[in-house]
């Protein structure tokens, strides 16, 4: 059990000085283990404030590397970090900020193969990911492992924050993400930050709200967002709050046990492992020159960047989801902005007799690669 010595006391003195907080709350923080999944726009401010506040053990899960377009919002990283793993860079920066706490970096993608083992090592989980597959996977894993989940997500100028799956003093478990949105939406229903754009300040605000809820949950001060969801609008500063009720029917949507969880298909990529192939830029460039091959852009009309470097046709997702085109070529190469919508298109177009390929990272990555 972590205790306060002279040095750590001084470090946390200004929050210990708060009457509602005091030494007791500080010791609770020092003896809590928090797992932060996603060290991006939300994860960075969450991590920075939790490390500064003295959460005793912090785990960071992220399989991504730092890119230049991350830096306007992912404030733990510097220009010299480009190309380096986020989990490791974040851990390094946080350890410098606070050498008195333990930080574990996991440079890996959270999947249903590793989620339960990772989560079971921690007391609280924080979801700072950027896709529905991960959000549902984390929600279900937290239910199976009985861990409270701090949730935050954003869309353009708005952000949502809530605490899911918290257990109260009477052993009653609060509402979870599936009480709000029971079924996982398809990824293309909502554009990602890459596609929709995002203000760095918004991820900062929402990330700090998440860190604040985490501290409240651990220390028992204030009223945490349990059985509640807030939506913050950064353009007009309005906060909408709604109650969420834990429903019996939601239980039917959660995998019954760990085995069922590991067998469940959360990501479109898992689901379609055998029906289409994710390819990198080199393979894309090689395949586009093969015979009997067609390249299709599934972005909507008018989306940028305009592609003129290779021959292709445009069939927007909005049309593909309504009417299936007849394609005679055997090899179908698909791309979109960042590779998410085209993965869904690949799923729709694959019919067993053709070979469907999805450009991983989308046209943005392809263009960046050509400029090197």
């Amino acid at each position: 059990m972590a205790l306060l010595n002279n040095r750590t006391y001084e470090r946390y003195d200004r929050q210990i000085a708060l009457k509602q907080f005091g030494k007791t709350a500080q010791l609770k923080l020092l003896n809590t283990k928090v797992l932060v999944i996603g060290a991006g726009g939300l994860g960075c401010p969450v991590l920075q404030y939790l490390a500064a506040a003295g959460i005793g053990t912090i785990g960071i899960v992220d399989d991504d590397v730092v890119t230049l377009s991350n830096l306007h919002r992912q404030i733990l990283y510097s220009t010299t970090d480009i190309g380096l793993p986020k989990a490791n860079r974040a851990a390094f920066v946080l350890q410098q900020l606070n050498p008195d706490i333990t930080i574990n970096a996991y440079h890996t993608r959270l999947t249903n193969a590793n989620a339960l083992e990772l989560i079971s090592e921690y007391d609280i989980v924080i979801d700072g990911t950027d896709n529905f597959a991960s959000r549902y996977l984390i929600n279900d894993a937290c239910i199976l492992k009985k861990k409270p989940l701090i949730y935050g997500s954003i869309y353009r100028f708005e952000g949502q924050v809530a605490i899911f799956n918290a257990t109260d003093e009477n052993n009653i478990i609060s509402a979870n993400y599936r009480d709000l949105f029971p079924k996982q939406p398809e990824e293309h229903e909502v554009p990602s930050c890459n596609e929709a754009g995002v203000m760095g300040v918004l991820t900062g605000i929402i990330g700090m709200m998440m860190a604040n809820e985490c501290i409240k949950l651990i220390t028992g001060i204030g009223t945490p967002l349990i059985n509640k969801l807030i939506i913050y609008n950064s353009l007009n500063n309005e906060i909408f709050e709604t109650a969420i009720i834990a429903k019996k029917e939601t239980t039917n949507l959660i995998p019954v046990d760990e085995k069922a969880f590991k067998a469940k298909q959360y990501s479109f990529h898992c689901l379609t492992e055998h029906s289409f192939i994710d390819i990198d830029i080199e393979e894309f460039n090689r395949l586009m020159n093969e015979e009997n091959t067609i390249v299709i852009d599934v972005r909507e009309k008018g989306e940028k960047p305009v592609v003129s470097a290779f021959q292709h046709i445009n069939i927007p997702m909005s049309i593909l989801t309504k009417e299936m085109p007849v394609i005679h070529q055997k090899n179908i190469l698909l791309f979109c902005h960042s590779g998410i919508r085209s993965a869904t298109a690949a799923l729709l177009l694959s019919n067993g007799s053709n070979k469907v390929y999805n450009l991983k990272g989308g046209i943005i990555k392809w263009m960046a690669h050509q400029q090197k």
Partner: protein, 76 residues
Amino acid sequence: MQITVSTFGQLAELTSPKIIVSDVADTVMLQQKLEEKYPCLQNITYAITVDKKIIAINTAINAASSVALLPPFSGG
């Protein structure tokens, strides 16, 4: 009787931040009217709140009800 429905995120962009709907007595009727007006809602995930509570079953509404449509956000 008119009801003003607030929307958020992508729903506000696809429909309107405030939608005025007339002559609806419950949330099932409301949903039908909204989907007639905005067919895109048929293919989109959203939750309905009445008086700041997420509803799971058909719920009566009146002119004094505050109704909102919440879409899931995935960004981070």
